[in-house]
Subunit: 312 residues, 2 copies
Amino acid sequence: MSVNIYIDHNFYDNNAYGYENHSDNNKSDECCVDDSYNPNSQISSEDNVLNKNPNELVYITKSGDLTKLDHVSQYAPLSGDNRIDYSNYCAIVIDVLRASTTISTLLELYDKVYITDSIEKTMNFPNSIRMGERNGIKIDEFDYGNSPVEILKDKNKITEFAKNGGNLVLTTTNGTRVLNSIISDDIYMGSINNAEAVAKEVYNTAVEKDKDIVLIPCHRCGDFAIEDYIGAALIVENILKIPGNKITKQLEQLIPLRSTIKFDWKNTILNSKSGQGLRDKGYPYDVLYSVQENIYDNVGKYNQKENYVYRV
Amino acid sequence: MSVNIYIDHNFYDNNAYGYENHSDNNKSDECCVDDSYNPNSQISSEDNVLNKNPNELVYITKSGDLTKLDHVSQYAPLSGDNRIDYSNYCAIVIDVLRASTTISTLLELYDKVYITDSIEKTMNFPNSIRMGERNGIKIDEFDYGNSPVEILKDKNKITEFAKNGGNLVLTTTNGTRVLNSIISDDIYMGSINNAEAVAKEVYNTAVEKDKDIVLIPCHRCGDFAIEDYIGAALIVENILKIPGNKITKQLEQLIPLRSTIKFDWKNTILNSKSGQGLRDKGYPYDVLYSVQENIYDNVGKYNQKENYVYRV
């Protein structure tokens, strides 16, 4: 019996998915925004699909893939039969900047974090600390942004609040979308901060349940995000370091992924589009913090029915 | 106006495509063999999908993708509406071991090579030198295998034959399948031997026709082939070296590809599954020859209607 490792391309694949060539200005809040919050008031126009040169957009070229395009262009989770069935896999969802990193940080403070994909749904948690972002910026009425460094500054306060029965609620965009677009009983969050811990936990679960492992880089609005790919590479590397591991096949397909961490990958992330974007928006320390390897031992697993991540 | 570069994942994507879990032994010649030639008599059982442990096969898990699986599991070219529409792209088809390399070699000898995907179709060329392989081994009744080194040994004879009106006909498996599975007026073959030449030619054509560029690693029977990925990386690198080039976007998504050639990529190819397979089958010099960068200036373009590659 062996365990295989795969990389998911569903959330970035220029053939299967891609930007739609929007021409309707009323759709301007479709990109990673699913409620009435208006990102355009706070972000530069470069972040808006609408303002991109149509020549730079990726089109669907293959017949039969229009349904997929529709799903992804709306940046809502896939639903029902369109969800990706990873029942036979342990899935590791990776959103380094910043959902995975924030969750890993929160699980150091308390053992349970609710995850929502909309601001509205956070209203279901009256006694809560609400954390979240839209296009990288803290949501006005929330307590914190999706910012691990911001959260760490108040770590004692947050821990105290949670231990006294308060809920921790995080609203993110891409990360949550991916978590709810797949089907599996074993969905984990993976960050660089806990790469080794998640590698060991997931590998052991895969062996125990006779499953394969799929790593899912979340990317951003269909835009390739190298930091998620590098996060996946670091987790793979830690799986392959496990003594006597049963990963013997499919190694060749992992070469491109693993190659990304054979030189200065931290610099690659600092200079990535996401990294630069966060620095521009005033979160340089979040980027620096996100690339710290194995500072945490916690592993977060997603309860899909009740939408929370808990420390295993 | 800018030119974008994309990497095609259609001929290897463990989510969209993959091995079918064959249980019918009569289907044993489906893997890359489309006629009556029986590969099992000559190759090790490891090369046969049927003999693989079902636990190691990739299954279709996503609803709606069964049609694709059917296509690819038969290893026949996609046809009609199922072909991938790359009309707006200059496509570079890369099959380093060995179709691309053999074609580049043949175009040094003569300016036109017919390509077929079956032994039967070579019968349409009565006055011909026939070259081809099935599972890496020369087809018995043919003049040469799909072996550039074998061909080079008789280069004067082959050139003479072609100049006197004889046809050069090459039968391959994966490479031909990909050539006929896509739609474009601008399909090129790319090898490591002519990486720089093909990079310049394709880039110039893309600018002239206002197209993007897609690189298509052929892979093998749905199995990931790192040598094709590395070939793509070398071509990309040569495009990016063109002074004043207009490739300004989408660079982040190319990082994994480009990372593969930042360390000893020749060794990666020599030790790849394809490389080892060819060495085992008695073609070590073909592998060594295939990794020689920029030894040729020729560029082969595919005439899809008449199924030949010609020197542009």
